[in-house]
């Protein structure tokens, strides 16, 4: 019996598929993520943070103080020091008699806005530059990769403060600076992946059908990179948030009196011995936020690619 006959005579087993649903890799990942209790808690916390940031105005009205309003009666102790937590100010006041709770709430807005915007901007630049480096062959790759090496080996914090000192601090400048020093890491990952994908047969097929370079890069290559890019974005957000807080702490980020966790902690540095609440609450807000994003990013990675070792094994 020849092979063909064997195949033809072979009985095709019928599988009953009515009970099972075909699920795409994304649906599988989503299902895995939903089973992950750590991810759920962190996700809920981040959503809560987003709500707090969005409704900072109404919340501060509810509490009764604006973020820059000084309480002339109960704001400071007779010695001129911040007032401890009390019925007037649930989390105490700062060095100028302002409500710490309201300022922490408004700080959420700055941290999330700058952190997320900078991470997204960095990812966009990184993806485009990485695609170009990986797709257009060795000559372009050599130049672009060297550029990424230089940016990566920059003593970035030093450069960031030098840059801000020249341009002048503002929220937009801060986002730009953070993005500028973060895109290269994304670019490297995307470049590596693109290098291997561009050798695949379906890319050759697309090219022989006459697809343009741009179409191949964005329609054929890019969708394959969504998973690593998504993971990296989630992990880049907490890094950007800490970067923002550090710049504000050093006095080159958000300009007072606009509250940010970083400049609150900087103000608290002079009086932390007498006023622990002034240091502790913005500090806790910052740590809890970075922790939540780090854990969520780890869970997202786990859900998208269960083979990788988890950063935080359970």
């Amino acid at each position: 019996m020849s092979t063909t006959e064997l195949f033809e005579s072979a009985e095709v087993p019928t599988i009953d598929t009515s009970g099972t649903l075909g699920r795409s890799p994304w649906q599988l990942a989503w299902a895995r993520l939903r089973r992950d209790r750590v991810a759920l808690v962190c996700g809920a916390f981040i959503v809560l943070l987003g709500l707090v940031a969005a409704f900072a105005g109404p919340l501060s009205k509810l509490i009764g103080w604006s973020p820059t309003q000084q309480d002339r009666i109960n704001g400071l102790t007779p010695d001129g020091l911040p007032a401890p937590p009390s019925v007037h100010h649930l989390l105490g006041t700062d060095n100028l008699g302002r409500d710490v709770l309201v300022r922490v709430i408004y700080g959420t807005r700055v941290s999330l806005a700058v952190g997320v915007a900078a991470a997204v901007a960095a990812v966009l630049i990184g993806v485009i530059v990485g695609l170009i480096a990986g797709y257009f062959g060795p000559a372009v790759d050599a130049i672009v990769s060297r550029l990424m090496d230089v940016v990566l080996s920059f003593p970035f914090l030093l450069f960031a403060i030098a840059l801000v000192s020249v341009v002048g601090p503002s929220e937009l400048v801060e986002i730009g600076v953070i993005a500028f020093f973060s895109w290269a890491a994304v670019g490297r990952i995307v470049r590596g992946q693109t290098l291997s994908i561009r050798e695949k047969e379906y890319i050759e097929a697309a090219r022989s059908l006459g697809a343009s370079d741009r179409r191949i890069m964005f329609v054929d290559v890019l969708p394959n990179l969504v998973a690593p890019v998504l993971v990296y974005t989630t992990l880049l957000i907490p890094v950007s948030i800490v970067f923002e807080a550090t710049l504000s702490y050093l006095g080159v980020g958000i300009i007072p009196p606009t509250p940010s966790w970083g400049n609150m902690i900087s103000d608290a540095q002079d009086v932390y011995q007498q006023a622990w609440w002034f240091l502790l609450f913005p500090g806790i807000a910052l740590i809890a936020t970075t922790l939540a994003f780090n854990l969520l990013g780890d869970s997202v990675r786990d859900a998208l690619d269960p083979r990788t070792e988890r950063l935080f094994a359970k």
Binding site: S153, F156, A162, V166, Y249
Partner: protein
């Protein structure tokens, strides 16, 4: 080997040159007038004076002439004078460098040694209590911004202990190593920990992952079956191979180390290069900023060349070419 070194040095010089151009360009397009800034209230009264000072500083010449002057002076070891304190930048750097070096080197030793050791312990007993503890530590360490950790350490180890009568930890300041090594270490121990913890966490996870992989390889099984002592297998056979990616990570972290040093110096009031540059930024003291940034760039480049050379020492399979 020599060819590799030469090529590596050449690219290093190129990178440093590129950075010098970028830095110079950044400060040239600065929208502020240095002469006006220096003169303060005198500037408003006397426009003549502003022009004289501008001329004196050579700020009226074309940008490339200024850059040529700058490069020329650089090659003669002259970094100019601080606009603010009028001291030579070289002597300012000389005063600040030992502090930053003490801080950075000490912290790097702590984080690499402790991070790798905890990582190895974790990997040899996966899923044990030690492993879980190390994981928890890494998780917390990664999420602690440097300045928050530093201030919390100050609050508990300086302030609270002082209240309790223990005055071991000073609240800041610096004592030169040559003057009193004991006090030097005593003043630096909290800054060291502050700077080390976040990076240590990364090394714990990295070492653990690498060791788990290496310890599963055939040659490790062979070494074990020969009857070598487990400690020898872990460290001589396992760790040596696992160290290569760790060394790579260290090359990347040198830039991070400098950034962390800026923040740590600010928290503990150490007058090192980081604090100096933050103050220079506030005072718009450009010669100082340019000098510190260039110094940092040179340092990062040199450190990365050293890292590349270390590969060959650690992993005999690496051929430098």
């Amino acid at each position: 080997m020599v060819r590799f070194l030469i090529r590596r040095l050449l690219t290093g010089v190129l990178v440093v040159w590129l950075i010098s151009v970028i830095v110079f360009a950044i400060f040239f397009i600065a929208p502020h007038n240095v002469a006006q800034l220096l003169l303060g209230k005198f500037a408003a009264q006397n426009q003549q004076l502003v022009q004289t000072v501008t001329k004196q500083l050579g700020l009226d010449q074309p940008i490339w002439v200024q850059y040529a002057h700058f490069l020329n002076r650089l090659f003669h070891g002259d970094l100019g004078y601080s606009y603010y304190s009028h001291e030579p930048v070289t002597s300012l750097i000389k005063a600040a460098l030992p502090i930053t070096a003490s801080l950075a080197i000490g912290a790097a030793i702590i984080w690499v040694v402790a991070g790798v050791l905890i990582g190895v312990l974790s990997a040899t007993r996966p899923r044990s209590f030690t492993d879980r503890l190390a994981t928890l530590f890494a998780l917390i360490g990664l999420s602690f911004p440097t300045f928050v950790l530093g201030l919390l350490l100050l609050y508990f180890f300086f302030y609270q202990l002082h209240l309790a009568g223990v005055t071991f930890f000073p609240g800041g300041g610096y004592v030169p190593l040559t003057q009193n090594p004991g006090q030097w270490a005593q003043h630096l121990i909290l800054p060291w920990i502050t700077l080390a913890v976040a990076s240590m966490a990364v090394y714990v996870r990295l070492t653990r992952g690498q060791m788990l992989e290496v310890l599963g390889e055939d040659y490790v099984r062979t070494a074990r079956s020969k009857g070598l002592r487990p400690l020898r297998v872990t460290y001589r056979h396992g760790l040596r191979a696992a160290l290569v990616p760790i060394v790579t990570q260290f090359g990347i972290d040198v830039a991070t180390l400098l950034g962390g040093a800026i923040v740590t110096e600010q928290v503990f009031g150490l007058n090192g290069l980081g604090r100096m540059s933050v103050q220079a930024v506030t005072n718009q003291d450009e010669p100082v900023i340019i000098a510190v940034v260039l110094l940092a760039a040179v340092f990062v480049v040199v450190a990365n060349i050293v890292v590349d050379l270390l590969y060959a020492v650690l992993d005999p399979r690496v051929r430098l070419s």
